[in-house]
Amino acid sequence: MDVVRRQRASALVVAGALLLLAVLVATSRGVTPLPTGGIVSTLLREVGIDVGTPLGGVDARVLLDIRLPRVLLVALVGGVLALAGASYQGVFRNPLADPYLLGAAAGAGLGATLVIAYAPQGVGPVGTLPIAAFVGALAGVGLAYGLGTAAARGQGGSATLLLAGVAVASFLTALQTLVQQSNTDNLRQVYGWILGQLGTADWPQLVMVLPYMAVSTAVMLFSARALDVLAVGDDEATTLGIRPRRVRLAVLVAASLGTAAAVAVSGLIGFVGLVVPHVVRRLAGGSYRTVLPVSLLGGAAFLVGADLLARTVIAPGELPIGVVTAFVGAPFFAALLRVGGWSS
């Protein structure tokens, strides 16, 4: 018991340290390198403390208006996606589950494509695109859940839900492709969004998604112990006082809410939700009380690093972040599999 707790604590500390390091490096690197001392001084000046030499005019604006919101948003998105992925893996007891399983990605893609093709985008503080993607993601999951529950007719199989998710995702993707191909003028914008879009991150977007992400993160972290109990089986869980259906529903809703908020501002970034939880399991043990919080921190660190690569590798050009996560994530994952095999 003690060993496990100690392992968990050290895993949390390591992940937290990695995240902090990633954020520091990402804030100081970019098209214009900014000195870390200057960054800290500028940040302190914003809260009224005058220490050291803050950055000059343009650099300060770049830091405060462009780079900082982007790095923070990326960290939030990465953390929530990894956490949601781990939660889905817990609910479905399936190592291949990722946050887009129940049609969240397909629904968000459809919403975004519809807005890009047919609706004005500049309305409101964050525009209509993130809102359409958010609503689309929730609608996709809702549809899958409705279909899955109706089909299972009370027998509560997660397999049925999975299949419903596949069906809904395929259908919504087909719709999205149809809309996209009927409006080829906007092709570049649609593809840009699908591959992961963080270049227009700003404070209003961060503020918009923060409440949803906070609520969903809290619910998921709270359910960690319940997920551990569920892992031994539904009947056993019931005898231990856990209500499997309720826990699953709560975790699913929370994970979907978090995923919807994440894709609303970042587009469809793959691999984070699938790979990070497995890496965490491999390195820190399989208990959800460890995997969930460590995935949150580790996913954030991973995506911050990926975003840093995306904006520095071909600077001043930018790579779509979905490309970077796949390029980095897939080989790393493959290597991990070779070494250790699945750990459930």
Binding site: R61, D185, G317, E318
Partner: protein, 327 residues
């Protein structure tokens, strides 16, 4: 024993008759075709379009990206699958010879717009207009092969990279449509207008930085593209050239990069597609401080003019010159 062989021989006879009939129909040539398929040998009556000296100029051999193309008669049913080519054709007076243009050819307004797609062309649909010349800019969906099989002359005029490419394409179209003099007039007028625009800009504008925006996620163009080469004519420095090597002419920049480069002139080529304007530009985080926004040097361009390589490039050059001259 006899019955199977009789059935067999009957079947063989039917097959032979059908085969001969098909061969006969497909080798049908000359005159207007009932099925609507155009012929390789052009024997239609001359068109009613007025032109400088049409019959004397034909047959003519022109050179395009798909090689040498010979036109036996002045074409009168041209299908254009390239918005830039449409603009060129109408500018040189060959608009009366055009029967159909693609769904993106929105200029000039009198161009006979159809549902034909330039992006995903359908050779059958194109052939349905019974064209005697098809002009396109990219060979997608096997268009060239299909039209060549149908015997329709095609001209491939890909996206121009320099102004000289554009002038050459206008001359090619002039030759192909029997309007060589008109084409020469158009190219000369373009050259004069662009030269005048460049000359009208004060010398202090040389070396200023320009940011040309394709959409609000910071896609831009380098100097190796057509519209980028216009900026080079003015002696402006294109900030996207820093990303030249990695992205084939159309790199995606970042907000950070644009802000730190502090461009003196911003040209928005996303006013139609993405509803961007000087106002939305100023609202972006960090952009209120860049010189272009502070001095109001933002050109709200027309998406189409900035992405085509037709005669309206002179309009584009003039709008850039106007902005640069307003000190």
């Amino acid at each position: 024993m006899h019955r199977p062989s009789r059935t067999l021989s009957r079947r063989a006879a039917v097959a032979a008759v059908v085969g001969v009939a098909v061969a006969g129909l497909s080798s049908c040539g000359g005159g207007s075709s009932v099925s609507g398929l155009p012929d390789a040998t052009v024997t239609q009556s001359p068109s009613a379009s007025a032109s400088a000296s049409p019959t004397a100029a034909f047959p003519v051999t022109v050179t395009a990206a798909n090689g040498e193309v010979t036109l036996d008669e002045q074409p009168s049913r041209i299908v254009s699958l390239s918005p830039s080519a449409t603009e060129m054709l109408f500018a040189i007076g060959a608009g009366v010879q055009v029967t159909a243009v693609d769904d993106n050819s929105n200029y000039p307004a009198e161009a006979p717009k159809t549902k034909l797609s330039a992006f995903q062309p359908n050779a059958e649909a194109v052939a349905g207009y019974d064209p005697d010349l098809v002009v396109y800019s990219n060979d997608a969906n096997g268009l060239k092969a299909a039209l060549t099989k149908l015997g329709v002359p095609v001209l491939e005029l890909p996206a121009a990279v320099t102004l000289d490419d554009a002038y050459a394409q206008i001359s090619t179209l002039g030759q192909a449509t029997g309007r060589v003099d008109d084409a020469a007039k158009v190219t000369q007028e373009m050259k004069d207008r662009i030269a005048a625009a460049v000359a009208s800009v004060p010398p202090s504008a040389k070396g200023q930085k320009v940011y040309h925006e394709l959409d609000q996620t910071f896609y831009s163009v380098t100097s190796s593209t057509f519209v980028g080469s216009i900026y080079a004519q003015f002696g402006l420095t294109n900030i996207a050239d820093g990303a030249k090597d990695a992205s084939g002419g159309y790199p995606q920049l970042s907000a950070e990069y644009v802000v730190t480069q502090a461009p003196d002139l911003v040209v928005l080529a996303d006013t139609k597609c993405c509803k961007q304007s000087a106002a939305t530009l100023a609202k972006r985080p960090g952009f209120s401080g860049i010189p272009a926004v502070k001095s109001g040097r933002v050109v709200e361009g027309d998406d189409d003019i900035a992405s085509r390589w037709g005669p309206r490039v002179a309009d584009f050059a003039e709008s850039v010159a106007k902005e640069l001259s307003e000190q």
